[in-house]
Symmetry: D2
């Protein structure tokens, strides 16, 4: 998997009265990127939420803010997966401006659980393959998400 | 039912880069007030969401913004129920400052539906009584919400 | 101006524990669309916020919710400007799914004010021209927003 | 300073379609707590934002999620200040349920900057005293925030 790239812009909704990005919204940008990546890999979030079997909550989140971000500023978010454990998936995100300057660095760790019991369970083998290949799986052509 | 009152303050999270309240967040304040009122009436949202039988989505929302709102500004939200239909509940909210000046006026219409089928169904009689009495029902003492 | 179109998707951040779009977030989608349209017309929000001369707050907001919206659902938002007054600009938004079914209809009214005094002032003539032409103005080539 | 305590509840706006707290919203709870503490110490955010001299952005944010959080759940947030540097203030937050069980642990580091130049500058001596005393300063009686 090469780093996956998601383009966005700083929307008014994500700023605060200091005139800058309200810092927790950088995590929202990371989540949007992860959702886009899941859809890209043929694992759209909406589908497995509805199925009600798996959940993939975040157990650790961290961010370093290197530069302020202003309304209207174009952004590029790059996602890189770290090595997955049996049940956990650590993800690194870098938010940069169009000139390539790093603005925020984030790290999120997801843990796979059973959606009903809340117990940890292994990341399914086919998820693992799709996520690390970074390419749509065999039946991804059936999805309309992009 | 007398108007129900909810106290809050303009938090940074609800402002934007213009320095004021980001206008959609006035609806969040109304929803917080409705949640507090439901708990006050012995109908805490968390309980009936978990039960999975009823849902009470908003089908119409409107707001008039009379005055800007600034970070740190103390707010009072008053909720007044309009006459309910068989399945619908219109609610009026007024957000004012401590001096009593009206800042925003809102109106939300909820419709009762079956959480699974999505079909409209009558507002349960005991909900109707509790909501319009504005007092906790007989088993509200069992709830820990306030 | 033909209707302006903005594509998005229902992100997890915009849903709530009922499993659907949290209704105030439909206003965020309208604002995102307006921001994209302003940039398209060569009037990027970030620029005139920084200049500190104009503000364009919303004084009226309304929405009708026709269909629920689920995480991952692709959306199309179309913006149509109504006839502007001297100081006010009413905007209609329709959020629909890829099959063209209308999900939410919104109407927002902006009023042009002086950013410092808060007094109403006329919408600048060149803003009016750009907004209703729906095409970038003569110096829009100088902006990097898209 | 004893730990400062802020009471809240999981609002619908802070949940997502998984039925739980949407994880970035735990940072919003920490920020709300910090705003309440600033007001408590006679340093209300709205006042110094308007003055336009200081800004106190977050440069590092981290959270560990130990337990899921559900809509309607009552919460207690406790804030403990770590030792401040010349320009930086690290803050620890613990979100717990009414029974005292820890749900989320957070750490935020603020850095004092000049609001106009963006350059770091020392935390004013009187801020430092008020923040670490955890009691309103001499002119706090003039504020209406609580």
């Amino acid at each position: 998997m090469n780093p996956y790239t998601y383009e966005s812009v700083v929307h008014l909704r994500d700023t605060d009265a200091t005139g800058r990005l309200y810092f927790p919204r950088a995590f929202d940008l990371a989540v949007e990127t992860f959702e886009a990546y899941l859809a890209h890999c043929g694992l759209p979030l909406g589908d497995w939420l509805r199925a009600g079997t798996h959940a993939f909550p975040v157990v650790h989140a961290a961010a370093d803010y290197l530069q302020p971000m202003w309304p209207g500023q174009p952004l590029r978010v790059t996602l890189t997966l770290e090595e997955a454990g049996t049940t956990s998936l650590p993800c690194r995100y870098e938010i940069s401006d169009p000139a390539g300057q790093t603005l925020v660095q984030l790290r999120l760790v997801h843990v796979m659980i059973d959606a009903r019991s809340g117990e940890k369970k292994p990341i399914p083998k086919d998820w693992r393959q799709r996520l690390f290949a970074g390419t749509p799986g065999p039946d991804a052509s059936a999805t309309t998400h992009s």
